[in-house]
Every structure is written in C-alpha cells, then in structure tokens.
Symmetry: D2
Subunit: 269 residues, 4 copies
C-alpha cells in the first residue's frame, strides 16, 4: 500500500490517491468524513477549524460501496477557496499590481527554511504546503487503512495523556472499547478530572496568547504476532511507525512502549 | 519524480498526482489539455473519443502559473458520468434489482484474467480500470514531465511508421521541428503518400469490422550524454523506457534504436 | 523481493544481496553455480568465459540448506583478480608511475557516455561495471527467484530462435520439458538443422572478426491467471518483464507474444 | 542512496551493498574498520565484543582508493564462524542427529514473535538475524555515508547523556570538535563526573546480573538549510531520521530537538 497526497492550505482542494488496497472492501464516503471531523475536533482550536466542514468526494477506486482494488482518489475541496482565488489561483495572475507576497515566516514551521532553500520572495509558496492542513491527506489515507485493518479485526485508537503540565492518571486500556470515552471528552482524555485541568490550562494559555504541547498515546488492538519483520531495518514495524508519526509537523518525539522511561530503569524492573 | 494515477473509465473522473517536480516551472492547464487532445486524435477513432473533450482542473501544486515544488494534482472529470451514475456510483446501490452485471469479458484485455483472479461476477469491476482511458493519467503526468524537460531544452516527439501492412518511407528526423508535419497529418505520419494508404487501410478494416496494429517511433532531442546509469540494472535508461512503454495496454513490443533488425545483421554492418 | 548487485569485471568479486525471499525454501549453492555455468555456455564464446569457472559462496540468509527469510548474500569471487590486483585494487595506488589508464572506449557500451558524464580520464572506471560480467549478479538473483517459483510449480526456460540470418523452424513448446533438448544443443536451439546453420554462421563471423545478433524466446510455465495487475501502470507484468529484459546490455528489443508481427496483421487474424 | 545489508550473527559474514554514492569519493577500508571499532567499544560490554575485531573487505565499487559510482559491497567475515560451522553452515546438515535446536527465546527480542510467525521449532533461525550484530551492516553503510557527508563539510557525531539514573550536566556542543572528548571517554560522556557515576552504575548492574538503559544525543554540523522537504510526508527529514533510529533494536524512543520536554512547556518558553 502506498499513497501520494497533494494540496495547499488555501488552494482548490486536498487530494489523496491510495494504491494497493484489496478488492471488495466496504468503503463509505461518510466514514472518511467522520475521520476528518475527528481531526478538526479539539478544545480551544482556532477559527479555521470551524469553517473546515470537510466534504469528501470519492473520485475512483470505489464502486457501489466496495473497493475495486484500483487506486482510490479522495478529493476534499477547500470550502473557502473562493475567498482565496486571487492569491491562490493556479492560473497566472491577471490583474495589475499582482499578488501581495507574504514576507513574514511563521516560527517553528518550514517557512523560513523553505524560502531560503528556494530563494523565494513570497513565503506563501512554502507555507501553503507546510501548513497543518496537510494532514488532511494523511487522515484520508488513514481512514482507508482503518477500513482494511477492521476487515481483519485490527482496531487503532488514541487518547490524550497530557496537555501542558497536566498529566492524566495512568489507567489500563485493555480493549478498543475502553477508548470510547475519550471520543466524547472535549480534550480526548480518559481521566475526567485531568481533562478539566487540561481545559483550564488551554483557556489560560489562550488568554495569554500562548500555545501548549501535549502527549498522545496511540494503541492498536488485534495485531497479530509477527507483524513487521526483523530481517531488514526498513521493514521493522517500530521504525516505520516512528517515521510516520514524526513526519507530522507538530510531533517532536516518539516512544514505543515505555520508551524514554526505560532509559533510567534496569532491565529487571 | 513519482506519480500515482487513479480513475475508472466511466467513473467520476481521472486523477493524477505527480510528486517531485521542481519549484518555479511554468505550468498551464491548457498545455495538459492540449496533450489530452492529442491523445484523443486519430483517424478512424471510435465514437467515445469525440465526447471525451477532456477538461483539466489543477487542484494543487501550481500557484499563479508556476509550480510550487509540492505535489501537483490533476483532475479530469468524466463528462458523461451522469449517464453512468447508476452503475458506477461510489455509493452503495440504493434501488431494487441492483445493477446489471457485465458477464462478457473483452478479448485482449485484463477482463477475464481479472475476473478469475478476484472471483468477481461483474466484469465491469475489472474493465473499468483496464480500459484504454487509463492512459489519461499517464498523459497528464507526461505533460508535466514534458514541461520540466523543456525547461532544460529536451523535447520528446513521435510519428507513425506503420499501420497494418503499410510502412512509411524511411526518412531522417534530425530535429524536433522535423516532427511538426506529423502533428498535422490525420494518422501522424510524415510520409504523405503512406499516410493516404494508411487511411485506406483503416477505412477498409473499419468497414469489415476489424482492427489494425501499427508502429510508432518516439524520439527525444537534446538529451545530455550519460542520462540514466550503467551502475545498476534498474537505473538503466533503456530498461526504464521499455518498461514504461510496455505498460501501455496496446503495446506488444519495444525496440531501442534498430532493435530487432539488428538480430539478423553483423556487428560490422 | 528486491535485490542489489555489485561488482566490477576484474575486481575482487561479484556480490548479490536478495531481500524478501520466504523462509524455508531449499537453497543449494550448486544450483546457483549451475545457473552461472549456463550463463557462460555458448558456441564460439570468447576466452574469458573459460577461465570464469564461477564458484559461489553463500554468506547469509541460508542455514542448513534452507532460506531463513533474511537477506541472502551471494559472493562470486573473480578467479583472476590476482592478475588484476595492481590496476583494480580498492587500495590507493602505492607504486611509482601509477596505473596505466584505458583511453579507448569500446563501441556499443556505456564507456564513452560514462567517461564524458563523469569527466573521467580512465575509461576503466566505467567499463569495469558496464561489462557483460555485470549479469553475474542477475543470474544469482534469478537462480534464487527460480527456486521460489519452483516451490509453487512455476518454471521459466528459454531457447534460441535466431542467430544472424538463420531462423529456427517454428515449433510448439507446450511444456517446460519440451525445452530440455535446447540445454544440450551447442547454441541452445530446438531445431537441430537450424542449429547447424547457426554454428556455421558463427564460425564465419568469427573468422572474419565480426559479431552477430540473435533472438531468444523466454517461456514461463505454470503461471497462475492474474499475476501482475491492471490497476497501476508500474505493476503490470508486461512492463516489468520488458524493463528487466531491456536492462541487459545486449538486449535491443523486447516483444510480448507475437509482438511486432502483430503490427501488420488485423485483429481478426 | 539505498542499501541492503545481510548476515547472521554467527554465520559466515556480514555483507552490505550501498548503491547511489557519487563517483570520486575517497574511500579507505580502514575508516570503515574504525567505525566498526567504535561500534564495539563501550564500558562493560560483554565478551562477544572483544573477539569481534571486525576486518573489512571491499569487494566492489572502490578502485585505487576512490569510489567508482557503482555499488560498494563491504564484507565483514565473522571471525569465529569456524566454531559455528556445524550449526550455521549454509549446506544441508550432513551428520547424524542433526543440529540441536534453540528452544528458549530471549526476552525483548524478535525471537518469540518470529518463531510464532514462522512456526519454527529452532529459535536460532530467528535470533541469528534479530541479533544486535545486525547493526554491523548499518555501521558499514553509515561509514560510507559519513565519507560523502564529509566531502560537503557535514559532520555527524554523538555523545551519551544518560545511563540508568545518572544524567550528564547540560552543556553546549557548538561544533563537531566539541564532541572529541566523548571519543576518549569510556562511556562516551562529555561530563567526566557523570561518566564516573555511569561506570559505577554499570558495574553495580553487572554485579547483580542486570541491564541498564541510556540516552544518546546525535548531532549533525554543517547541515544546509532546507535539507529534507516539507512537500510530502515521506520526504520529511524528521520522519526519516526517526524511522532509521527507531529501527535499531535497542532504541525505544526518538526525540527531535527538545522533544518530549516540549510537551509540558508553553510555546513562549
């Protein structure tokens, strides 16, 4: 299975082509839309998120509700492209004066590095793709992957362990259904007391015009023994998962199992 | 540079995502449309071709007429999808009786092999992707590749050497402009006398409900010495070009230079 | 399954690493050696071939006669490396005067293109890898592939259809065993009369210091319906086989089935 | 640049083939050997390490001290293979009674998962490849990569931040030469006081038959702005580095920059 995704933050739309899914998988447009809605959710998220009611169009690879085995193309149009048509049109600029360039790179993004790399005077040429909206493509591909995994009884879910200085109490998550309460929680935390403290933390940061980090745990259930391979470095599951996760812009660290905590304990512990 | 293309013959549309093009390349939607129009042309082509006025939409990767270096997504909607909505909808079939399956595989296509492979009762699940319309994606990717090659003064063109038993007289094609007359010829042949005979051959075959083979020569001009590589088999130019050409359904043979003719002459000749 | 192969014509040895073979396959060193011996055979082949008694060493991936599922590394030492140690040592040249460069590129090889590409004064830097001995690596990988295919009852074989102007009479090859006589024939031809004429053709050409082309047919038996895929251009079997074959230096044309002959007949024929 | 590596822990040897290095790079066998010696070093390492005086043989891709641009094959023979010939021979077992299988999987390795996956009765079939000795191939490839990076003035180095509960004092590492003292330190730590405590920690754990974790920092100097790419997830530098690091068996967590520490601070901090 491989995919390519495309799309600028304020361009015409986000496109994902997934190649390699088997034939006969049930694929519903609404499921991908639900996953995109999950992506948007989150306590205290900015205004952009609310206008982003992402509507999905399946352009290929699915017929009468089932996958054909051929590449599946998913299109998510940007709803406010009309407001951006002037500066984001694929067509050459037709009006006098041209488009106002963006000259201030955002910190912590690829903007500055990209502008230097390409010798570009308009940072918009970089920031439109280095935007967080880029993850729309991954969510589309991930939704299709989830459908395939579900067909072999594997479920993948997640919950929030920490926001800022607040940490959730440890709890055993033994099955996929144990994660369900997180879907209902405003910050996707299983510990309702911690969830409240997290929201306060978020409110405070927002009032002060600041941002916060956090920690998320991703869990997979029903994974058969021996998935991945020990025979070659680039087929190891740990490495591939870490690489995929770290390629999300906001992710700065990835652990497997106990991860860094193991660095200070003994093997016997 | 890599690409994925997607789309069924009578589905909503054909999508191509090309990743790896440099930044700053001039990209015009109209050029891709012109290339798609060249794909449709051809003396004696069937009725399908005429309704296929392919309109291109650039969904990403191009801003104000120039490539951004990010993936370029090209959408070509199928104009007659409305007539096929019932049997080609991505949504589950809602009406009683369902969709009439296709049970007769076309000879010389992947239809039969695919139906056996997938144990599928409706050959449409296979033929929609094994259709010649699949080449729309390659033409879109090829048009973008041509734009990149042009930016470094490489031109690629072609002309028809034979149709059925008719062969064009040999002639030296020394430059890209030498190929221009082929663009005007109804069968893309540089030899006008042979072109006439080819058309007669086509007319006869069509009257008799038959089909014809042919031979095309593809030429590249301005290619720098040393493109490709001798160091590993899968980087050799000959192999990659042959693999790409042979992956077109109707292509059954590929030669480099004199090709098979060399098999019966001596090295000194 | 993927592989990398390495090695210069007169360097220390040829190495092939094949990754992706399943566990539990019977692998014997002698089988790979037999395949390398087949590569060397051929009526009228040059002196190089006779000193090339290739001995195979399995360095990994095989334990007690069975594959481990891990990468298999095959080493074929160059027997006459000692005679070439001075000019082909990996170590920096230690003796005064240095190594005599090769300044005459062989026609029809990558020598000239490579020397121009790399701005290299010693053509040996190119010709050592663009040599026909490079195919040793492919034969090693191919031998392992054959073992895997045999475990699922697929056999691949070949025979010579033409040498110079001589063509073998057409005959039906209905099974892998039908190819056995070709293994015994000096030019691997199934038509003994044509074989004689081919050898005469070769003798004549050699007397006159000339070379000859030829045509080989490769056949696979037991291939299940639907191998390869119609869903994406780079997964089509025809394209992948053509690409692999055309990457062999001496191959200038590849046909599938009737190939070019089809270009001049009608569909109904 | 791509590579395949092969080799079992007690098999004939470890083989690495690196494809894609440029022509004309200075490559010395001794440099790869030095890197392998660095791999072996480490306070308190087991007995295996001392017999592992790895000797490197360059089998291809390097001529007279310079890379040819062709694949470089590196062979590291296992010095004690003679002692293992009986149970690790690639040849079928010839003596009566056969080879004694290993039936106890090591905890924390791929042994158990592999044995279940393959339905294998002899865990040795798995553990020989899932051994830490597998990193020999990566060190060989890494040494060649270092030579290439050095040719464009990029240096990569590392030092130990923590062993068990001991953490080194924070210090600014402003240049590659600042890392030199770590090369001399028995535990590769820049903080000599912490280094002493780390060694005591190691001694204690060893006496008690226990093991310890640790934290290593890897630093690259001279990296040009814009390496990697923001345009597609699988070309992002962070993701690729994290994936490569996490594919090392003993690595359970990867951070970029401040990593997890950022999860509990505000953006403004």
């Amino acid at each position: 299975m491989r995919f390519l995704d495309a799309g600028e933050s304020h361009g015409p739309g986000m496109v994902t082509v997934v190649e390699g899914l088997p034939m006969g998988l049930r694929v519903r447009r609404e499921f991908i839309q639900d996953e995109l809605a999950r992506r948007r959710r989150g306590y205290g998220r900015g205004g952009r998120m609310s206008i982003e009611r992402d509507e999905v169009e399946l352009l290929s690879g699915v017929r009468l509700g089932r996958s054909l085995g051929s590449p599946i193309a998913v299109l998510v149009r940007n709803r406010d492209f009309d407001n951006w048509r002037e500066s984001m049109s694929p067509e050459e600029c037709a009006f006098p004066g041209g488009v106002q360039p963006v000259t201030l790179p955002r910190p912590g993004h690829a903007d500055l590095a990209g502008a230097i790399k390409y010798g570009d005077e308009d940072v918009r040429d970089i920031l439109e793709r280095s935007s967080a909206r880029e993850t729309v493509g991954r969510v589309c591909a991930g939704a299709l992957a989830k459908l395939m995994l579900r067909s072999v009884d594997i479920e993948v879910g997640s919950h929030v362990l920490g926001v800022g200085r607040v940490r959730a109490a440890e709890r055993v998550v033994g099955s996929f259904t144990d994660l369900e309460p997180a879907e209902e929680d405003p910050v996707r935390c299983l510990d309702s007391k911690a969830s409240e403290a997290m929201r306060e933390e978020i409110d405070r940061a927002r009032e002060e015009g600041d941002t916060l980090g956090g920690v998320v745990e991703v869990l997979a259930f029903g994974v058969p023994c021996g998935l991945g391979s020990h025979v070659h470095w680039d087929r190891r599951l740990d490495g591939r998962l870490a690489g995929a996760l770290m390629s999300v812009q906001s992710v700065k660290g990835v652990e497997v199992g106990e991860g860094f905590a193991l660095s200070s304990v003994r093997g016997s512990e």
